[in-house]
Amino acid sequence: MPAKLAISYRHVVKCFGRLKAVDDVSLDIAEGEFMVIVGGSGSGKTTLLRLANRLIEADGGNITVEGDNVSNVDPVALRRRIGYVFQSGGLFPHLSVADNIGITPKLLGMPTANISARVDELLELVQLDRAAHRDRLPEALSGGQRQRVGVARALAARPRIVLMDEPFGALDPLTRDTLGDDYRSLHRKLGLTSVMITHDMTEAILLADRIAVMRAGKLLAQGTPKELTKSGDAYVMELLRTPRRQVERLNALLPESGCA
């Protein structure tokens, strides 16, 4: 692979008690790539994601981030250089939108005035109105707005890598679609490396450069959506057939111009 590697997993193992959550997984994510990891609940996809910024420590194998073996890097410093978007936001309820967004720069010791300017920049980037949202508490925001703040917070310290834990899963379909598209363009505009996990193959196909499929801790297949269709694995094929079947049924139910 000619491009430089942002994240590389080599024979990674993680056990919780007797359960092998991640079982000998090797996966490379190139710089600038949008990787989506697909799997059901208990497939190990969340564990795999969190191993990258050491929210979970691996039991075996090697993980490198931008060439550094993560076990040799201070975990706190590592997390500050990697953006992380949490499921349904993970915003701190006692902090305003601005304070939530500015948290990592503050931890890094950036001067207050610079943080404030950076927060305004980010609000604009994630298309939130500065005057209306800056000083609100998270509870006063809609689900979609919260997730935009979550994305802004992940980007605040200008990371080159962003990890996303089912970021749009809990949103209504319309918001989810818009947010996905908006993030995809941010990813391109900022030249980010993004790793997102989801259980939804449709979302994965629409957003990803490449997709990795996990089941019971094992990596079943990886590749572009097209490459995946050539995978011989029955589970992967079944995952891919589902969106297509849904489209066919939708087409049958809704006439071509029905929505206009």
Binding site: V76, Y84, F86, G90, L91, F92
Partner: protein, 519 residues
């Protein structure tokens, strides 16, 4: 309106700076100590279920110990500790007053602070703690920036509960020698001065409310990141402490300290002793409401300078003697024994305050009961009431043994209520005191003790070791010896149990001195 016009409010008000100041100091010191211990423990054990469970169980057990008992337990505990440090390091400390009260109250404050602290910290959504890690916080930053702020409302609720508890319970620290608003309550209960009781309760309730509101201000300030509010609340608490320190510093030397136990006669006698010392140009203050076991130790340790005790009480409690001696022999032996502790038995006041079995006069006559021996036949169908210590004292065991007494029921009561109970027929016999004025008032009769089961209880004046060679003090006190007869003391006690302005210990003490000199 007549209640408000009562002059005793003014009298109560005069003590307020002293009582309130001491109360604020001991409660806030206890609360501060409780917080300094409990909050770190709550934080340290938040992710460790086993020590957390043990800690909460310990705090809950502490809470089940009644306040009065807890405070009383700390006194002998510290006394023992003080003797150990004296033996090992050559330094001792006073186990009297502030220290035991503060430690016991601090222990009391721990449960709400621990429980709410732990509940608050454990109630935080784990996803938020994960998020704190994820954005790059260290464990310390996560605690300070996320966990503590989120747990703050629950934690502060616990701190406020603790503050109100401690301020309320501090009123019980009077018997172990810590001056507090409880001095009003104990004195008022003993001398049936309801104005004082009410005053003490109101003052401590208002203090609790004020501290609670100030803490609330601090909490809202912290929660809404409003520095002004938080600072205002902290300032309020600091001002409260500062205000109470002013009178304490102004009164640097308090002269001789006269002790008094928790009943009316003792309040009157301590006022009398204070008057005599002041008349001789000596400065003196009264520490009243001291527990009966605390007061002797306090004298021995030099925390108080003098007080009146009773020969039979010391015979049984300090010398642990169950045998009965004729009074002069008993007094001589007691004097020698006390001298071994360097305590001076200056002499007898002239009256005896012995336990006596007491019945309504008419009833005794109609049943033909004159002595305790006569009573024994009727006892199985009768009930008896005594004060809190009577039934566990050797006198009671001796009475039972000498006369084969066995009652249908035994009840413990506050001494002043005992007389009302027998007057209303609620109990048949009480273990009263021979010097009590209520015996005459309620037309009661004291039963003779032909087998001499009850030892003599001469009122005796005791001086602390450091006053053994104090000529001026002894000269001021000598005129009192042998001066107070039983009839005079009974009448004084009856006056003290009244509920008007003339029944204050000071007023009765003046009457007592004048009357004693006239007779």
């Amino acid at each position: 309106m007549s209640l408000l016009a009562d002059p005793r409010w003014g009298e109560a008000l005069a003590h307020l700076p002293d009582y309130l100041g001491n109360h604020v100091r001991v409660s806030l010191a206890a609360l501060a100590l409780g917080l300094v211990v409990s909050l770190p423990l709550a934080i340290l054990t938040r992710n460790r279920p086993a020590p957390r469970g043990m800690l909460l169980a310990f705090a809950s057990i502490v809470q089940t110990v009644p306040g009065l008992a807890m405070l009383a337990l700390f006194y002998p505990l510290l006394l023992a500790a003080a003797s150990v440090t004296l033996a090992w390091f050559g330094v001792s400390f006073s186990a009297f007053g502030f220290l035991p009260a503060m430690l016991a109250l601090a222990l009391y404050s721990m449960l709400p602070v621990l429980r709410n602290g732990i509940t608050g910290l454990n109630g935080i959504d784990p996803a938020l703690i994960e998020a704190a890690k994820g954005v790059g916080m260290t464990a310390r930053q996560s605690l300070l920036m996320v966990e503590l702020p989120l747990a703050l409302p629950v934690m502060m609720a616990g701190i406020r509960t603790a503050a109100v508890w401690v301020i309320g319970t501090a009123t019980l620290s009077t018997p172990i020698g810590q001056t507090s608003l409880g001095n009003y309550i104990f004195a008022g209960l003993q001398t049936q001065n309801w104005v004082l009781v009410l005053f003490g309760c109101l003052a401590s309730a208002l203090l609790a409310l004020a501290v609670d509101q100030l803490l609330g201000l601090v909490e809202r300030g912290l929660r809404h990141r409003n520095r002004l509010r938080a600072a205002l609340g902290c300032f309020g608490i600091a001002a409260l402490v500062a205000a109470t320190l002013v009178p304490a510093m102004g009164r640097s030397s308090q002269g001789y300290v006269v002790g008094a136990k928790t009943f009316a006669e003792q309040y009157v006698l301590s006022a009398l002793l204070k008057d005599r010392l002041q008349a001789a140009g000596l400065s003196a203050t009264v520490r009243s409401g001291l527990g009966s076991s605390v007061i002797f130790e306090a004298l021995k340790a030099g925390d108080i300078d003098l007080y009146v005790d009773y020969s039979g009480t010391l015979w049984a409690n300090q010398l642990h003697r169950a045998d009965i001696r004729p009074r002069t022999e008993l007094l001589a032996e007691l004097k020698t024994a006390l001298a071994r502790d360097k305590i001076t038995l200056l002499g007898e006041l002239g009256f005896e305050n012995a336990y006596a079995l007491v019945m309504p006069g008419q009833r005794a006559d109609s049943l033909g009961i004159r002595t305790i021996a006569d009573l024994a036949a009727h006892a199985p169908s009768m009930s008896i009431a005594g004060d809190y210590e009577f039934f566990s004292r050797p006198e009671w065991a001796a009475l039972q043994k000498a006369y084969g007494l066995s009652f249908r029921a035994q009840r413990q009561m506050q001494p002043d209520f005992m007389y009302a109970a027998i007057a209303s027929g609620e109990v048949d016999v009480i273990a009263g005191y021979t010097s009590d004025g209520l015996i005459a008032k309620y037309d009661l009769t004291t039963l003779d003790d032909p087998r001499q089961a009850i030892p003599p209880y001469d009122a005796i004046l005791l001086l602390a070791p450091q006053r053994a060679g104090d000529e001026r003090l002894q000269a001021a006190l000598k005129p009192l010896l042998g001066k107070i007869g039983i009839a005079t003391m009974r009448e004084a006690n009856l006056r003290a149990s009244g509920n008007d302005a003339n029944s204050s210990p000071d007023a009765v003490a003046k009457w007592l001195w004048e009357t004693a000199n006239r007779r």
